[in-house]
């Protein structure tokens, strides 16, 4: 007796589904391969080297054969301890946090305001020119930005100080004074990044349904109320997504920039973890020490990203 074929509701095994999906969408899957290879080669394989954070790394023996710290009569956290016991470590950590948290705020709020200003400009041509001009600094390297800062802020012949002196004031040592250097770091970072960072916000603003504004206008909302009740709530999600990705870099502080701006007059307030690691690790060949610090930074950053995301989930705007 033949049974009537009933529609199959039972799910097929995962393997079969996977193979079928690959057959059906193979061009899409194929296009993932280069990206996956990239991450495999440049992000995952190098993790093999993390082990030297727990080893007494010897050049001759190589990564694999160097002695583990506990085989070398040392505690497993020897290199971590070495970082924290450095008389400068607390100062360096404080500097890193102050500089990068300030930068975080400066990379989020001013670009948002800037994007709002651009989008509210009535003369669209004018807005477009401003927008393009504001992108340009993003493409300059930090060496060039430092050159510009030196020309603008130099104590003797800097443009700003010349103006101050002409007005009868005292020259301000922006680049060689502990008090001012953080401001210069944050300010130059803002100048370099404001246009570029605003692109995301501008894109999000362009995606807002215009009928909402029309409805608001009919209801009697002015410009500011429209921003407050329509634009900003619509940007909240993208804002949080950006925040989550940026929080992961809080322990970085921007090596490239700080290293160029650093000198002995300002080291006390401007030295960050990465510049310290650079002088210790590459200058003094303490590869194990610097790997340990790098690993610690990565773990903490990962925790921060996960934490921020969990927090964001409460407002239903998490990244995943």
């Amino acid at each position: 007796m033949t049974q009537l074929s009933t529609p199959v509701f039972k799910k097929k095994p995962l393997g079969t589904r996977f193979i079928r999906a690959i057959r059906q969408y193979w061009p899409l899957y194929a296009m993932i391969i280069p990206g996956m290879l990239f991450f495999l080669i440049y992000k995952y394989l190098p993790m093999y080297g993390i082990q030297i954070a727990f080893k007494n790394f010897s050049l001759r023996k190589g990564i694999g054969d160097s002695l583990w710290l506990w085989d070398d009569k040392k505690e497993w956290f020897y290199w971590f301890e070495r970082f924290f016991k450095s008389p400068q470590s607390s100062q360096i950590i404080t500097n890193t946090l102050i500089i990068s948290l300030s930068k975080l705020v400066m990379e989020m709020i001013p670009p948002l305001v800037f994007a709002l200003a651009i989008s509210e400009t009535v003369f669209k041509k004018y807005a477009r020119v401003i927008q393009t001009v504001s992108y340009l600094p993003h493409f300059l390297s930090w060496v060039i930005v430092f050159g510009i800062c030196a020309t603008m802020l130099g104590e003797n012949s800097g443009v700003v100080n010349n103006m101050i002196k002409k007005m009868g004031g005292q020259a301000i040592p922006f680049l060689s004074n502990k008090k001012y250097i953080r401001g210069v770091l944050i300010g130059s970072s803002l100048w370099k990044g404001i246009g570029w960072s605003s692109i995301v916000f501008l894109a999000a603003i362009a995606g807002i349904d215009t009928s909402m504004y029309e409805a608001a206008t009919i209801d009697g909302c002015g410009r500011f109320r429209q921003i407050w009740y329509i634009t900003l709530p619509n940007l909240a999600r993208i804002f949080v997504v950006l925040l989550i990705t940026k929080v992961g870099h809080v322990l970085d502080g921007g090596f490239e920039q700080v290293y160029i701006f650093l000198n002995d007059r300002v080291r006390a307030t401007a030295e960050i973890i990465d510049t310290w690691v650079y002088t210790q690790g590459l200058g003094k060949q303490q590869y194990s020490l610097t790997t340990a610090v790098g690993l610690m930074k990565s773990v903490l950053s990962c925790g921060l990203v996960l934490g921020t995301n969990a927090l964001a989930r409460k407002w239903d705007s998490s990244l995943w």
Binding site: M31, L59, Y287
Partner: protein, 490 residues
């Protein structure tokens, strides 16, 4: 069709990611260097020095850039047969067993090289008593620092060349406030520095030299005893003078963060502590005269000592070098012989002339007095200096290359320095040496700029901090012990 296109895109992306291995040469010696000369040829075919060496001694001698030591250590180090490294790396790598022990070879295969080195000190090439390096030749040329000064400004103000620290102050003061360029504006300064190192304290070394000391952790030998620039009796007095210069606003504070060279060249500052090449080579002089055709430069190398020591300015280290050739422990006999063949080739005669100056007749010729003089094509030979490795008779070389600056390098290379011995001392285990050094420099600057009270008592507190926080005293004890072991002090 879509599928075909995406397949093509994927194939193209994958191809792009593939790196093609360079074709191998049958017999070759590969040496890693941390920088290559200006205008380094893109291919070996264009590299006429390489080709000449290949032809003359049948060695395929390849210099390769390792701009990142991590690269060299991690994955690629084993491909090199020898490395141009500094003392720090020589020590670490030597202790790791990565370098060939040259102690025996010194008497046999490398005998001619070590003989050629003559009186050059070998201390720096030893690690724990084992010879690991071929150090750079020392032929009487020392550090090349001097203070370059605007002679036309001195003349305009009726001043003499400074001879004492008070003169230096007076000249710097006059350069700042007496309008030396006569443009009616108060827009000049007295003293700047070209910042040849990244430490940014070079400016004050110009002043501290008169007090027989220098900015920072510099190990010195005085009266047969090991001491430190930080512990020199004239230090506080020297810092007071630095402060006096700063307070009078006659120094260029910007040179702590950026080189002061452009300030000097553009006629904004009248004196600059510098290495001579930047200012005195034909190009530098040209720049100065482009700004002001009437500019006249002069220089001095030392000032009279205020503390009864031999006049000296700026520290120098006869043992320190960032150019030691070390050979890989894994090198094959065949390659070692080829490398030694190269070394013998470039140290004397035709080979030496090739790597110093280029090809005879093309890049250089002998003049009537039998001296080597560069031709108009000499710039094409700018890149070859990397081939010299460690071997260069400096004064002979400079005379041929830069005859216009002969007077300056003759005097600067012969000038007395505050000789330091840091490169021969290894810090005690667990000490944070670079942290200590940067802390010391920061505090010295704080004293000078008035962020910290400058007095004998407060300075003593500072030294105490160094001892408590950074084991400075242990470091100095280790220095004394090690220098005694090496026979530098008794």
């Amino acid at each position: 069709m879509k599928k075909l296109i995406s397949l093509l895109i994927v194939a193209a992306m994958l191809l792009g990611m593939c790196a093609f291995a360079a074709a191998e040469e049958p017999v070759e010696v590969r040496v890693s260097v941390s920088s290559l000369g200006n205008g380094w040829p893109a291919t070996l075919e264009e590299d006429w020095v390489y080709q000449k060496i290949l032809k003359d001694i049948n060695v395929s001698f390849k210099l390769e850039l390792v701009d990142d030591y991590w690269n060299a250590m991690g994955t690629r180090m084993d491909i090199y047969d020898a490395y141009m490294i500094d003392i720090d790396h020589l020590r670490t790598w030597g202790r790791d067993g990565a370098l060939l022990d040259l102690t025996e070879l010194k008497e046999t295969k490398l005998a001619s090289y070590y003989n050629w080195l003559g009186s050059t000190k070998l201390s720096a090439a030893y690690v724990d008593g084992v010879l690991y390096g071929l150090p750079k030749l020392y032929d009487g040329s020392k550090s090349q620092l001097c203070v370059t000064i605007r002679q036309d400004w001195l003349d305009a103000l009726g001043l003499k060349m400074p001879e004492t620290i008070q003169d230096l102050y007076d000249v710097a003061y006059a350069f700042t406030y007496n309008d030396p360029d006569k443009n009616g504006e108060n827009d000049t300064l007295g003293l700047t520095a070209a910042k040849p190192s990244a430490t940014g304290v070079f400016l004050f070394d110009t002043i501290l030299g008169s007090f027989d000391t220098a900015m920072g952790n510099w190990i010195l030998i005085r009266d047969g005893k090991v001491t430190n620039a930080l512990l020199q009796p004239g230090m506080v007095q020297g810092l007071e003078w630095c402060k006096k210069f700063v307070d009078a606003k006659i120094v260029d504070n910007d040179c702590l963060s950026t080189a002061g060279t452009s300030q000097f060249v553009s006629g904004k500052v009248g004196m600059i502590g510098c290495t001579w090449p930047g200012i005195w080579k034909a190009y530098g002089q040209q720049q100065i005269h482009d700004v002001n055709p009437n500019a006249v430069t002069n220089f001095f190398t030392t000032l009279k000592s205020e503390v009864g020591a031999e006049p000296a300015m700026y520290q120098g280290d006869l043992n320190s070098t960032n150019a030691i050739l070390a050979i890989s422990a894994d090198i094959s006999e065949e390659k070692l012989d080829a490398l030694i063949k190269y070394i013998d080739y470039i140290t004397v005669g035709e080979g030496a002339n090739l790597v110093y100056y280029g090809l005879e007749g093309e890049h250089w010729v002998y003049d009537e007095q039998g001296r080597i003089r560069m031709t108009e094509n000499a710039t094409a030979a700018n890149y070859i200096s990397t081939y010299q490795l460690f071997s260069r008779k400096e004064l002979e070389y400079l005379d041929a290359k830069f005859p216009e600056a002969k007077m300056v390098f003759d005097q600067t290379t012969a000038a007395n320095r505050i000789w330091t011995y840091n490169s021969l001392v290894v810090e005690p285990e667990g000490m944070y040496l670079s942290d200590m050094e940067s802390y010391a420099r920061q505090q010295l600057l704080d004293f000078i700029y008035g962020d910290r009270e400058l007095s004998e008592a407060e300075y003593a507190n500072f030294i105490q901090e160094l001892n408590d926080m950074y084991q400075f005293d242990e470091y100095m004890a280790a220095a004394e012990e090690q220098l005694r072991e090496q026979g530098i002090v008794e």
